[in-house]
Symmetry: C2
């Protein structure tokens, strides 16, 4: 992807300045913004920091922020100039030419654009004397200047060659600004671009900015439009991330920087309008299960109508099929460390017209390609790794025996015909820890090409709030992934760490599947009579039938229905669902989740 | 304290319904509100739940919520009645007489008070037929009814004996309501009181309510005023907590319920205007240190001007003194579990005119009294335990040799005179995990009688945001405690778990203390030249002197100064500070914390 310069502010990352710089360089960034507090906390001189950056191949694109400079009474402005001159001293050592001045929040600041422009021009004069320049930015909570167009009016009025604009996507969008106007700003006045995404939150802009910014593609802002307007205007400076986020501020800066750069690569791709490889449904889900408890999983599959149709030629791996739904069960003794679990979703295999193109794009988006060990005549599936280590298999739409990725050929037929009942994989539900949700989400959005369906949903789970969100590909047979995670999970009380994952099968008739499963002895989860009495009171018909089949029901605002049955938690980690959607229901049954979780908890406690 | 009935909504606590009920009973609550989703998630019938509550000694005070009942078109209202009748069925089994109906958020709801009143009267008629009654509450985000006075106009208009008001302190204060008007509501119409505190947050009321409610005394609402008005109006129902909070929702319900009831006991005391025992300064701080590293602590004390004036008669405990500052160093081999640390603040000893009264009041506020093992002729200090196990010693203001709590008598004089330099304990800084801050804060506010000084401060620490807040007693020589904790601390990256604690000594002249400490070989923390260059640019004089003495400086908006020096982290957990305040500075040096933390991190990494 592009030759555009990509940068990141040190404020985005966790650690000491040297940790941040090393992470930015390792992730492949071209430059950094040095955040003043990071410099103040470093024992190295600015010149030493400059050498460190140079050694890492990082340009110092910006020194920021210089605060409360302009529109001040004369004596206060004299103090500003003293601070500015010191900043210039530092910049000369740092070898950076651009400083960010953000609009004043000083209570003494005067609402006078002429004064602001004159004082900024005076600062710019002094900058120009040293070969430096000033990028002026409107903070969304600036005392008098808090919109980008107001900052531009002041820059235009000052009309100084060393004074230009810093556009910050957060400040612009948070105040409802229209980026189209940027097209009319002369390219020579567009000094710097700071990029941040954010969810739309109904709260004050300052805490929104300080705690909830996200990397591009993780939030709700139309950053593609913004960079499009800036491209049209002729802006040719770096795209530089400035993201303040409670989670990223404390995360390992190595993966966080990779995630950050991925977000910009995704934005570049989005701006270029590059064709995203189509993803057309889930080929299979691979579960890794401890041999000691694998029968829990396979018995449940069998009861839900799956048949073991294939055995891998060389590995302890079975292929289970029911209609169009396929599950690969890989037996694997868990490693004896604290993080290992006896059953887990190990891979999601998606169908795509060009598997190599999908995998190659993943690699371009910084997902490591995973070479799969395979014997000479075995299929060579393309695979990249998600941030949590789960694999994304890129499968051909119709595997043909001639292709090198004809994965069904790796299985020896058991002679058993596929089961019936299911028609495909409805969704996979993953449960990353809260601090890893944003990166999991970005992977799904960029590498897999899924889009969020609706807003995040808060589930009042028995052991604390769980925030869930569904992501899906386009098309009639979408790939769907639910990410859900506990907002807070501390101390020894709350169980279920790691939280359960699930695989849901699409079925045309959940009652038939449920009856067969119960007859086969599978103890489908029973949430108890209070739930069904409530359904009846809400006007649902035939609740006795639902109760007898242990069917949970969610009804959306348009009357669309999600009828599903749920197995116990199997192998300590994973449960299965059979799901019947009707009436255009597009969710994932979040309304049922609290009773489902309570019943799971009770069934696990009683084991 | 009082004979008032105290209750709690099951929604406040974590776990399955049975966990919540057991915790509420164990904490001594009189009754509970059964939150509908908790009942739906229970396999027990409402009658069984009623028996469970009765066995635990809990009344079921309220069944809640019934939503979207009123002001609806006729056909939709018919569906409401079906749901209401089902709720009444459940209530009869539960043995509760009062149901909460909260104001409608249904998009079909009509802005028509007459219709709302008429339909609520119809519901009340049906309730009365069964001996039940309806408490109507204005949700702060109700579609048309969202203030308590509006809900009261509708209740008054309906004029039905089985229809009254539910007052919810959150909804009232969040909308800026004036509780004084409640005095004019007839007592017979005040059916129920739900209590929640909250911090003042500039955000939408719904997420504020769902995530950020707190127990009374943990937030910013004047709940004492509210309950005062309700008392004046003749309300004689329970005080019942309804607190939605991300942390409490997932915390061990046992301690959370104790914390909850403590908050109501504190509110009762506040309403009664009971004299809170005065706390007049810090008598001493006790540090528990591993003998293997205790020299790190005692060498630092000595370098800061402290002298070991006493040795405990029977235990490996030393008394260190400098002027009015006293530190008790107790050698204790840490337990070999993951949570043990080599050095920690074990106790805070406060001076009070009546130690027994302070301790007794702590016990009334549910702090366990800790009997201290002591030999026959040793002092019997009164002590209660904070939620984290730290002890609060209640010491006499002037220990006199005749008293049974003459704790200095436990120490044999070493013959060494107290050091000079310090005048007292400036503050103790504790660092509870984020999920335990609210309970630590409530303990300080209620049991110790401290008040917050200013708002919480977000510190941009190298490894993520740290939120700090200072609490202090009144008077010339205040007891000050800082609580600071990481907003998010996940994964293996961020170091310093458990985070450092500190003890700060008040000194009249920090330069003298620093010079002596450096001369004694104590490596006072050096944050490096960039910090001092920045101070100079901000107009601070004599920064070379500050730098030479390793003094950090915070200047408040009024010019008040906080000049302090900081030791390395000692024994792996604790650092010491010498603090000189001037010009009325009232904070705790939060502005310096980021550079201090970075330097601490570097010094630990280099050890």
């Amino acid at each position: 992807m592009g030759g555009r310069r990509l940068g990141i502010a040190t404020a985005c990352l966790s650690g000491l300045l040297e940790d941040k710089l090393a992470a930015a360089a390792a992730a492949g960034f071209d430059g950094v913004e040095i955040f003043v507090p990071d410099l103040l906390g470093s024992p190295e001189s600015p010149a030493d920091i400059a050498r460190r950056c140079a050694d890492l191949g990082l340009a110092v694109d910006l020194y920021q922020p210089i605060r409360d400079v302009e529109a001040l009474p004369r004596d206060a402005f004299a103090a500003s100039l003293r601070r500015v001159e010191h900043a210039f001293d530092v910049m000369e050592q740092l070898g950076t030419t651009t400083a960010l001045i953000c609009s004043s929040v000083d209570p003494r600041a005067i609402d006078d654009d002429d004064l602001a422009a004159a004082q900024l021009a005076e600062v710019a004069d002094r900058a120009a004397d040293r070969g430096l320049r000033i990028a002026y930015e409107a903070l969304a909570w600036g005392r008098h200047v808090n919109t980008w167009d107001h900052s531009w009016r002041i820059v235009a009025r000052a009309d100084h060659p060393a004074l230009g604009l810093c556009v910050d996507s957060f400040h612009l969008y948070a105040r409802g600004g229209d980026p189209a106007g940027l097209r009319d700003v002369p390219a020579g006045k567009l000094f710097f671009l700071q990029l941040a995404d954010a969810p739309r939150l109904d709260m004050a802009v300052l805490p929104w900015s300080r705690h909830h910014r996200l990397f591009p593609g993780q939030g709700d802002f139309d950053l593609t439009a913004l960079v499009g307007h800036l491209d049209a205007a002729g802006y040719d400076g770096p795209w530089s991330l400035e993201v303040f986020n409670d989670v990223f501020r404390q995360a390992d800066p190595g993966p966080a920087a990779v995630d950050a750069r991925r977000s910009l690569l995704g934005l570049e791709e989005s701006l270029a309008g590059a064709a995203v490889p189509a993803v057309g449904g889930t080929a299979f889900v691979e579960l890794a299960v401890d041999p000691a408890t694998s029968a829990e999983v396979t018995d449940a599959l069998a009861a839900l109508g799956f048949a073991r149709t294939g055995a891998h030629r060389t590995k302890p791996v079975g292929l289970w099929e029911a209609g169009g739904a396929r599950v690969v069960v890989r037996e694997e003794v868990p490693l004896p460390d604290a993080g290992s679990v006896p059953a887990a979703v190990a891979a999601l295999a998606v169908r795509t017209p060009d598997p190599e193109a999908l995998a190659r794009r993943g690699v371009e988006l910084l997902a490591p390609r995973v070479p799969l060990p395979h014997a000479g005549d075995e299929a060579e599936l393309r695979a990249v790794a998600a941030p949590d280590g789960t694999l994304l298999f890129c499968c051909p739409e119709r595997p043909s025996p001639g292709g090198d990725d004809f994965w069904p050929g790796d299985f020896v037929s058991t002679g058993v015909r596929p089961g019936v009942g299911a028609t495909g994989i409805d969704h996979v539900a993953l449960s990353p820890p809260f601090d890893l949700v944003a990166e999991a989400e970005l992977f799904l959005r960029t590498v897999v090409g899924l889009a969020p369906v609706g807003e995040p949903t808060d589930i009042v789970a028995p052991f604390g709030l769980v925030r869930g969100r569904l992501f899906a590909s386009a098309g009639a047979e979408p790939v769907r992934v639910v990410l859900s995670s506990s907002l807070v999970r501390r101390g020894g009380w709350a169980p279920g760490v790691p939280a359960p994952q699930s695989v849901a099968f699409a079925v045309p008739d959940v009652l038939t599947v449920a009856r067969a499963a119960l007859d086969a002895g599978l103890p489908l989860l029973d949430v108890g009579p209070n739930y069904y009495a409530d359904l009846a009171a809400r006007g649902v018909a035939d609740v006795d039938v639902l109760a007898a089949h242990r069917v949970l029901l969610d009804v959306d605002a348009s009357g669309g229905q999600y009828r599903h049955v749920v197995t116990p938690v199997l192998g300590g980690r994973v449960f299965l669902e059979a799901v019947e959607r009707s009436g255009g229901y597009a969710g994932f049954g979040a309304a049922d989740a609290p009773v489902r979780m309570a019943a799971h908890r009770r069934s696990r406690a009683s084991v």
